[in-house]
């Protein structure tokens, strides 16, 4: 017998459906049959956890990966990784990727007219400290045109990928910037009806982490699934 302490199911309305027709790519890719609900077992409450040995300390600074500095507004993105009960999650790997200041990704599929920046790759990673804190240095990504609908533009965003403590807590999300005029029109940001949950995807401008004459600070906390109160025998 093993005692399993599972992870809570999401609050209704806070996680998107797979089928979301305004996001056209979902139409041929989302499952059409209902998901089969299964109990969490040892397979789901364990998972890959990459500790400090998997991290290159310099990888949290996306502005110092090349000979010169990238173009664009320098930013500090920082925050905490917490569970739903506001407990900090230490030693959690965070991987990020983003477009450059002109809105172009360093990817062969992205061939739109904006220029590449020889001093910007657009990917980084770091790990949370004992209090669940993380910090990236980057540049503010530009808006990105896509072909989902006529004149479609993605609001500026940074992709975040986290494993959390278990297979059950795996999360990939996107961080947005406050006051972005494109947010109301973006079918990805607007994938859920819950306005509060949506607003938690928008970082907060932060004076405390803003560095004079250097970089603007943005705060973005990431919440992973919390644990069930009582363990089950398994």
């Amino acid at each position: 017998m093993v005692r399993i302490r599972g992870y809570r199911r999401p609050d209704p309305g806070t996680q998107p459906p797979h089928f979301h027709p305004p996001y056209v790519s979902s139409i041929k890719r989302a499952p059409t049959k209902p998901l089969v609900t299964i109990p969490q077992t040892l397979s789901e409450i364990t998972g890959p956890v990459f500790g400090p040995q998997a991290v290159e300390p310099k990888a949290c600074d996306l502005t110092s990966q090349h000979a010169g500095s990238p173009l664009g507004q320098r930013i500090i993105v920082s925050g905490r990784v917490l569970d739903e009960d506001n407990r900090p999650l230490a030693n959690m790997l965070i991987e990020i990727w983003q477009a450059n200041a002109a809105g172009r990704y360093l990817h062969t599929v992205d061939q739109h007219g904006a220029p590449l920046d020889p001093n910007f790759t657009g990917c980084g990673h770091t790990i949370t400290d004992a209090e669940g804190r993380y910090r990236f240095v980057s540049i503010r990504p530009g808006a990105y045109p896509w072909r989902n609908h006529h004149n479609a533009w993605r609001p500026a965003h940074i992709h975040f990928s986290l494993f959390g403590p278990a297979f059950a807590t795996r999360l990939v999300t996107q961080m947005y910037f406050p006051g972005d005029a494109l947010l109301p029109f973006d079918p990805i940001f607007n994938c859920i009806a819950d306005e509060k949950a949506r607003s938690r995807l928008i970082s907060l401008f932060d004076w405390e982490t803003t560095i004079p004459e250097s970089a603007l600070g943005y705060k973005f906390d990431i919440i992973l699934r919390g644990r069930e109160a009582t363990p089950m025998e398994s």
């Binding site: 017998m1 299964i38 364990t46 739903e84 009960d85 992709h159 999360l171 990805i188 938690r200 025998e233």
Partner: protein, 189 residues
């Protein structure tokens, strides 16, 4: 007051720039115990077209049925050179392939052992959140009494069981079919 978990968002079309570093299509280096297998397949969309921009992540126990994770408290051996994690993107033709060992059995609900399986996350442009599924193994008597498989209607169970490939030893085929009559079973866990 609890705060609900952050809303999932799609990985989009360009995830490879951020998620390349942990790519691993060989989970079992030299000296790892267990039956060595290559699992290959395709990811297919609702038109039967290959999905060239998907990423598959695998998590599994070692051949003894032990996960390399602090919450696996079973008294079974860990193996230094086996972690159990894989990350494999699809190629331009929607194909993926990885090599691993067949895991041992791990405990399941009500203390009953589960049939050997891998747990799988699938990410791609077009999906606002991951898909979760499992890969089971062919000719495995324990499949008949597996708790998770028993929750799936019998006609759909074969989508979760990798198939032997004729005249190719140690190769199994397992496709991800996103829609239609052969649609893979996806889980909510």
């Amino acid at each position: 007051m609890p705060t609900p978990a952050t809303t999932s968002q799609t990985v989009g079309p360009f995830f490879s720039i951020g998620l390349n570093r942990l790519r691993a299509n060989n989970l079992a280096g030299p000296g790892v115990s267990g039956e060595r297998l290559t699992i290959e397949g395709k990811v297919l969309d609702g038109d039967g077209q290959p999905v060239p921009d998907a990423m598959i992540e695998i998590w599994q126990a070692n051949a003894h049925g032990k996960y390399a994770h602090p919450e696996d408290t079973q008294e079974k051996p860990l193996e230094q050179s086996f972690y159990g994690y894989g990350r494999v993107p699809t190629d331009d033709h929607g194909r993926f392939r990885f090599t691993t060992i067949k895991p041992g059995s791990v405990p399941g609900p009500a203390g009953k052992p589960q049939a050997p399986h891998l747990v799988v996350s699938i990410f791609m442009r077009g999906l606002m959140k991951r898909l979760v599924t499992r890969i089971y193994f062919p000719d495995e008597a324990a499949n008949d009494s597996d708790f998770v498989l028993s929750l799936v209607e019998p006609a759909r169970r074969p989508t979760l069981i990798a198939k032997k490939v004729q005249e190719r030893d140690a190769v199994l085929q397992w496709n991800v079919v996103l829609q239609g009559s052969e649609e893979t079973v996806f889980f909510d866990c």
